[in-house]
């Protein structure tokens, strides 16, 4: 009797597979799968776009939902690609870990598909981004689905109420405005804070740090070395820590819980004067039910000197898995997603800034998204994080040390010095 059970079990396991329902049984049919994560409103819209794609091309696409957290999205993709799984065929990659995926040989070159049947050529996209991020060893390995740059959201009503002319051009002006408004607003809103931004120990913290450091600061990759410990960077980290502990402009949970979504909800709940976030938050701030609808403005991030602010290049790029079982269909989907028409829809619906340039000149877009004109300049000047395959180790070190400084366990100087030493050790392993 037991032998029969064992046989049943073994047969069941051997037949086990990975991507079809009901559970664990390998399907013979080939399906195009598209993996994406993000805020819920985005995921719903993706479903809509994919339905449109299927209507047009007859290719059925299955959406694989991923969590919002970028590290977790990367982990599920890495596991699948390391295992040379057939799914996902098409997936989004954060600009921060695209280099590692490319260097690991997981991305199929898109050059054969560029410029043909519905897929735009390289010239349609921001050249600097395509060159710095989407090209690996001379081949196009990804296309920018949407590009991001950190921007400063601000409460137009509160600035007017407290007689502040406009969005701050320098961090000092931001501090003054925040202190002034905070003093007033806290009387009837104890939970009100001047400025919310991403301080939790995750990738977002590194982006914010690069923006605080500004155009003259940031992380350079010079001759295979990654430089983080510079006087400008120390000043920026000191300012970030003081925002929380010294001036009390940013909430205490900035360095424990503040991520994009936490900051957006905080600002959208009307509890903050300024918010650093990605452009996706704009449409959500304007959505019905948002306490800041119609009283929110967007502006480039300030710098320590006027005009020397910068924006950390973010955004997600779409790539084709080398192990996928639907390359041609995948390329068609990529062409569709990066087409002018769809990029325009993404901009209008989700506030995602297109990776292609022509959408910014579109009259309807300019009219509906007035800040796009400025945003294009921001994006053209946005600076990418170090595009190196071992960036995740560098980032992990920075996340740990920067967060330690924000939590007050290390002084900004100590934190950056320690980070620099650790980065030097890591690099020695990948000589």
């Amino acid at each position: 009797m037991r032998i029969r059970i064992l046989l049943l079990v073994v047969v069941f396991l051997i037949g086990a597979s990975e991507d079809s329902h009901p559970a664990g049984l390998r399907p013979p049919v080939k399906t195009l799968t598209f993996a994406v994560g993000g805020a819920p409103s985005e995921l719903d819209y993706w479903e809509e776009l994919l339905r449109e794609f299927t209507a047009r091309t007859g290719i059925r696409v299955e959406l694989l939902r991923q969590p919002t957290d970028t590290t977790l999205r990367r982990q599920t993709l890495s596991v699948a690609l390391l295992a040379r799984e057939r799914d996902p065929d098409v997936f989004l990659m954060d600009v921060a870990w695209l280099a590692q995926f490319a260097a690991s040989g997981w991305l199929a070159p898109l050059d054969p598909y560029l410029g043909r049947d519905g897929c735009s050529g390289r010239d349609a996209f921001f050249p600097r981004i395509l060159e710095l991020v989407d090209t690996w060893q001379g081949r196009t390995v990804a296309l920018p689905l949407y590009v991001d740059g950190g921007i400063l959201y601000y409460r137009t009503d509160l600035l007017r109420k407290y007689g502040i002319p406009g969005p701050p051009a320098t961090w000092e002006q931001l501090k003054e405005a925040a202190l002034k408004v905070q003093a007033g607003e806290r009387r009837d809103r104890p939970g009100f804070y001047g400025f919310v931004w991403q301080g939790a120990q995750y990738e977002g913290l590194v982006c914010d740090f690069l923006e605080f450091a500004g155009a003259d600061g940031g992380v350079e990759t010079v001759g295979g070395q990654v430089i983080v410990d510079t006087p400008r960077n120390r000043r920026a980290l000191r300012f970030m820590r003081d925002l929380i502990h010294e001036y009390g402009i940013s909430p205490p949970n900035t360095y424990t819980e503040m991520t994009e979504e936490e900051a957006r909800a905080f600002f959208q709940g009307g509890n903050a004067l300024f918010e650093r976030n990605w452009p996706y938050a704009w449409s959500l701030h304007q959505a019905p039910g948002s306490r800041v609808k119609g009283v929110t403005g967007a502006a480039p991030l300030p710098g320590f000197e006027p005009g020397r602010g910068t924006s950390c290049l973010g955004g997600w790029h779409v790539g084709l898995s080398r192990y996928g079982d639907a390359a041609a269909e995948g390329a068609k989907l990529i062409g569709f997603l990066t087409s002018r028409e769809i990029q325009k829809k993404l901009a209008l619906r989700l506030g995602w800034n297109p990776g292609r340039m022509d959408v910014y000149d579109d009259p309807e877009v300019a009219e509906r998204l007035p800040y796009y004109r400025e945003l294009r300049a921001v994006i053209e000047r946005a600076r990418p994080r170090p595009v190196v395959p071992y960036y995740s180790q560098v980032s992990e070190i920075l996340q740990r040390r920067l967060n330690a400084a924000l939590a007050g366990r290390l002084s900004p100087g100590e934190a950056l010095a320690a980070a620099q030493q650790e980065i030097r050790d890591v690099l020695s392993r990948y000589d």
Binding site: S78, T256, P389, S392, R429
Partner: protein, 294 residues
């Protein structure tokens, strides 16, 4: 020599053991050996694999992230294991005391152990939430602190939060082990102690504790090895934060695997393996291994 064992009988006997050996070899020993081998290589997804001997271990030596997670794992074990033993002993004494509701009590106590750590981790994540967590409600309720306490914000707070959550999950396991030890103590020893006019406290220290010593040692080592390899709770509750102060060795190693650096991650996990292995040798000797079964 065993001349009286004929071969056929032996083979039949070993056939009974074969499937277990095969499974353990394939899915435990082979992976451990593989990981050990990987740790001697520079093995990253974006570079060709190269043998570097103890290179990874040397890098570990100068990697503050590694030392930080080693320190956390050690400290976490040093604090949580004794706490769980003490609490477990108290629970065991309570559970052993004959009451009508004993069945209900035992089921209630078993519950935390049965719930996966990852799931209870999310529950504790909510409990420690600044705005509406249970911890703050209780803290402000009983006047421990006026405003909401930021539990997961500081490394000390996160550490204590982890210890408390871990204690909640594993104390029942320790209690059950000690309960077995308690029930093995013959009743008449207590009656004898009573006759010798020993009060409840003396009875505890003169009878219960000495006789419970072997079980306590087993529970101590069992828990130590378990808490050294903590991963689920840390991953879910604090994600190793704030500032990596609560990153356990397992989580640190895991992060390198996922980041595509198998060599370095394997080195971290080999260090953890050696720690656990040494302790398990102590455990096997301490529990006067296996005499009764034979």
């Amino acid at each position: 020599m065993r001349k009286d064992h004929d071969l056929r009988e032996l083979l039949k006997g070993y056939a009974f053991l074969a499937p277990v050996c095969a499974l353990l070899l394939a899915f435990v020993f082979l992976p451990v050996a593989g990981t050990l081998l990987d740790s001697l290589h520079r093995d990253v997804t974006f570079l060709p694999r190269r043998f570097i001997g103890l290179g990874n271990y040397r890098s570990l030596g100068s990697d503050p992230g590694f030392w930080q997670s080693l320190r956390f794992t050690g400290l976490f074990t040093l604090v949580s294991v004794p706490l769980e033993l003490a609490l477990g002993l108290a629970f065991a004494l309570l559970l052993e005391h004959p009451t009508s509701a004993r069945g209900f009590l035992r089921a209630g106590v078993l519950l935390p152990w049965a719930i996966p750590a990852a799931v209870s981790g999310r529950v504790f994540e909510l409990i420690y939430n600044v705005q509406y967590g249970l911890a703050n409600a209780l803290a402000t309720g009983i006047g421990l602190s006026e405003g909401p306490v930021h539990w997961l914000g500081t490394s000390a707070g996160a550490f204590l939060a982890l210890v408390a959550a871990d204690a909640w999950k594993t104390t029942p396991f320790v209690a059950i082990l000690l309960l077995a030890g308690l029930s093995a103590i013959p009743e008449d020893l207590y009656r004898q102690a009573e006759v010798d006019r020993a009060g409840p406290l003396q009875r505890f220290f003169r009878v219960t504790l000495p006789l419970l010593r072997p079980v306590l040692v087993v529970a101590l080592l069992f828990r130590t090895i378990d808490s050294l390899r903590v991963f689920d709770l840390v991953f879910v509750l604090t994600g190793g934060g704030p500032g990596g102060s609560t990153t356990s060795l397992s989580l640190y190693g895991y992060r390198f695997f996922v980041g595509g650096d198998f060599g370095y991650g394997s080195a971290v996990s080999v260090v953890l393996f050696l720690l656990a292995f040494i302790l398990s040798l102590l455990y096997l000797r301490a529990s006067r291994f296996g005499r009764e079964i034979a």
